[in-house]
């Protein structure tokens, strides 16, 4: 477009044509070299990528043998990169189990020990102090989160005139995050837990935009955890150390709960505000709470049908 009018009828002399071609070839070579130079940092990255990792199939498509190989590969990689021997297992949902969680807002004191326990249990990045739980300090007389804050710092909790509301993944039965994922890297398991295949996620963060509960976290860089602080009891869909550039979220500590243990956040709670259990078991604590307390869910109007219940009492 930006071309000066030339005399179009005169054929370029052979010499001129050759010079021009030579210039073009030279320019193209320089351009290619500059482009390769600009992208050079990628070579550092590809060293970290394995062919096996690149070609790895979706979790649901892996045969038992393939899955086993994947788990061993991740164990070896964790040892190489983090200097800690860990066990990564694949725990499946149990028959006749469907998990639910309830939290008593009357006794929660906002100590955030649940958030800390989550941080340690799940091998979160130490620098960013990530946790799947965010505790909101709410103002008496209001249930509007606008009048709450997650960044409070008092000498002692609970502060006068405040109450506390820990928020984590609500394990919705109609989960917007699962619907929006373009590659099915996140889904709902038989026992109600919404999980992420960290090896399949492309890191578009659409789920993070879709979640109404701020439950999802992104690995903005590779997590840093000192070897001695790593929790070696890991599983593929839960607390194994996540790769850079993928989503993660609360998984109800499935590496514990699928073996009949309590989630780390519940175990850490000093006031007994947390109740966890099998919704299908009529004798479970969670069933007792649902039947005897006036429970409610967050943002019910959005139709997400959470499995996480709150109550005062």
């Amino acid at each position: 477009m930006a071309e000066e009018p030339t005399d179009p009828t005169s054929e370029p002399a052979k010499e001129g044509f050759d010079r021009r071609t030579a210039l073009k070839v030279g320019g193209a070579t320089l351009g290619a070299a500059a482009f390769a130079r600009a992208l050079a940092p990628l070579t550092e990255w590809t060293e970290d990528l394995s062919v096996d990792g690149f070609l790895q199939k979706h979790y649901k498509e892996l045969t038992p043998e393939e899955l086993s190989a994947v788990l061993r590969r991740h164990e070896a990689e964790t040892e190489r990169r983090y200097g800690r021997e860990v066990t990564i297992r694949d725990l499946r949902p149990q028959e006749g189990v469907s998990f639910g969680y309830a939290l008593n807002l009357s006794v929660c004191i906002g100590c955030r020990r649940c958030a800390e326990a989550c941080h340690i249990e799940n091998n979160h990045d130490r620098r960013t102090q990530t946790s799947y739980i965010r505790v909101l300090e709410m103002t008496q007389g209001s249930f509007d989160m606008e009048h709450g804050t997650a960044v409070y710092d008092h000498e002692a909790v609970p502060a006068p005139g405040k109450y506390y509301m820990p928020v984590q993944c609500q394990q919705c039965d109609n989960p917007p995050c699962v619907h929006v994922c373009p590659v099915e890297a996140t889904w709902k398991e038989e026992d109600g837990i919404v999980v992420v295949d960290y090896d399949w996620c492309i890191g578009c963060r659409y789920c993070e935009a879709a979640c109404p509960y701020h439950a999802r976290r992104f690995n903005w860089e590779r997590p840093v955890v000192p070897a001695e602080e790593i929790n070696p009891n890991q599983s593929y869909l839960s607390n194994r150390i996540r790769p850079q550039g993928v989503m993660e979220k609360c998984h109800f500590c499935l590496h514990r709960t699928r073996e009949g243990r309590a989630p780390a956040c519940l175990e850490a709670c000093p006031t007994g505000a947390r109740v966890f259990g099998n919704l299908l078991d009529p004798n479970s604590d969670i069933r007792w709470v649902l039947e005897n307390k006036r429970v409610f869910v967050l943002k019910e109007d959005l139709g997400t049908r959470p499995r996480f219940f709150y109550y005062f009492g």
């Binding site: 477009m1 179009p8 482009f35 992208l39 701020h214 903005w220 550039g245």
Partner: protein, 427 residues
């Protein structure tokens, strides 16, 4: 022509295109060199971001989309707006538009390339792109709106590439284009352009947890603003072609496009007013994002100057376009196009994406200001988009003008051929 003839003439066409795209004046070389430099800076920043992680951006778990997705949204609009030329030309049989239609279609191609790149640089794991491919990966269609976007964006790119490629090739070999091979695609492209931007709006408006986006007005407003930016860019391009190149550009298309913009700028302002009224009159927490955008919220006000600037630009553009005495002046009308383009870029880019995250779903206020990495990558993609557009135009215009043909090189069809308007020389 037989298939064998095409097997010979098509490679010739491609080869000639390469040579045309790389031949030019010093002005052209300087322009391309500057763009290449910026694109390289962007490529380098992206490589660094891929290695070190998205932590190099200013995005966070609170504001998890930023400058990239803002520009993606805008670029999709520009691509949809490119067909604004096609609608009058083919739907209303405006013959004057036929010869310049390709300017809009090539704009659509360049803008789509940009849109796709903006998505790629936003991915935390670009190495896993194949997971998003239908049949090869696990394509969550039709539930995920993002898979619809993948389909419509790539489909739109193919349709436009086909139309442009076919028309240029037939011109090049000196044949009359067979309407059966492009008119149906043109008609599809018109519907498809609408769908491209509708689907992109649905990406956001489908999220119930984000009240700022969860509005039925989003898709209509996206289309209206697309039909501001597309025509604004094309008007500027046509005027540049007229002033700085040897190609004659009829004045009819500019008048038609300005007519379109006169309607769309005012409809956009009306829709903005309707949205603001709905948000602010009833108040409450659902208005918090709009409050943040326009007035700042609890001391956080990074977007306030931008959004008022956008309003100023849009109003100024509307005043110029709707005042004939002003719109008649060459440079004033150019300024109106630039203002409208910039105004929509702010309003539909950062002005739309960021307030979706502020306050967050737990009503926390964490602000976002793009990092230098993000600005570098964004500038790089814009530079690359402009390079694509320049090269495409560089190849297309002489062919459309009949200067470049299989049987002759670099010679005008007739000594005084009025360039693109020279339709009569079709055989």
């Amino acid at each position: 022509m037989s298939a064998r003839d095409h097997a010979i003439s098509y490679p010739k066409f491609l080869w000639r295109a390469v040579s045309m795209a790389t031949d030019g004046s010093w002005l052209f070389y300087t322009w391309m060199l500057v763009l290449t430099a910026i694109a390289l800076v962007g490529a380098n920043a992206w490589a660094q971001q891929t290695v070190d992680g998205m932590a190099l951006t200013s995005m966070s778990d609170h504001v998890s989309w930023g400058l990239y997705i803002a520009n993606f949204t805008f670029a999709v609009g520009l691509a949809a707006g490119g067909v604004m030329m096609v609608i009058p030309a083919y739907l209303y049989r405006d013959e004057r538009m036929h010869d310049v239609v390709i300017v809009g279609e090539l704009l659509a191609i360049a803008a789509l390339v940009m849109a796709l790149l903006f998505v790629v640089v936003d991915l935390g794991r670009p190495d896993r792109f194949w997971h998003l491919m239908p049949f090869i990966g696990r394509f969550h269609w039709p539930i995920s709106m993002l898979t619809w976007d993948v389909i419509v964006l790539n489909g739109y790119l193919l349709i436009n590439a086909h139309i442009c490629g076919y028309l240029l090739y037939t011109r090049f070999i000196g044949k009359k284009p067979d309407p059966r091979w492009y008119i149906p695609f043109v008609m599809v492209s018109i519907v498809w352009a609408i769908s491209v931007h509708t689907v992109t709006a649905f990406l956001y408006s489908g999220l119930g947890g984000r009240p700022f986006w969860n509005s039925a007005l989003l898709a209509p407003r996206f289309l209206v603003t697309a039909f501001i930016t597309g025509p604004a860019f094309i008007v500027l391009t046509l005027r540049f072609m007229r002033g700085a190149t040897r190609f004659a550009v009829p004045s009819g298309p500019v008048a038609t496009l300005v007519g379109v913009m006169r309607v769309t700028v005012i409809v956009n302002l009306f829709m903005l007013g309707a949205e603001l009224f709905t948000e602010l009159y009833s108040g409450g927490s659902h208005a918090a994002a709009a409050e943040y955008l326009w007035f700042g919220l609890h001391g956080a006000n990074a977007l306030v100057p931008w959004t008022w600037a956008a309003l100023l630009f849009n109003v100024a553009a509307a005043v110029i376009l709707l005042t004939p005495a002003l719109a008649r002046r060459y440079w004033v009308l150019n300024a109106a196009c630039v203002l409208a383009f910039a105004g929509v870029w702010i309003e539909k880019g950062m002005g739309l994406i960021i307030p979706g995250f502020i306050p967050s779903t737990l009503h926390e206020i964490v602000e976002y200001v793009p990092s230098t990495t993000e600005w570098r990558i964004t500038a790089g993609i814009w530079a690359f988009g402009l390079m694509v557009y320049t090269v495409l135009m560089k190849v297309a215009l002489p062919i459309v003008a009949g200067e470049e043909r299989l049987d002759r090189r670099g010679a005008p069809a007739k000594p005084t051929a009025p360039a693109p308007a020279a339709r009569d020389e079709e055989e």
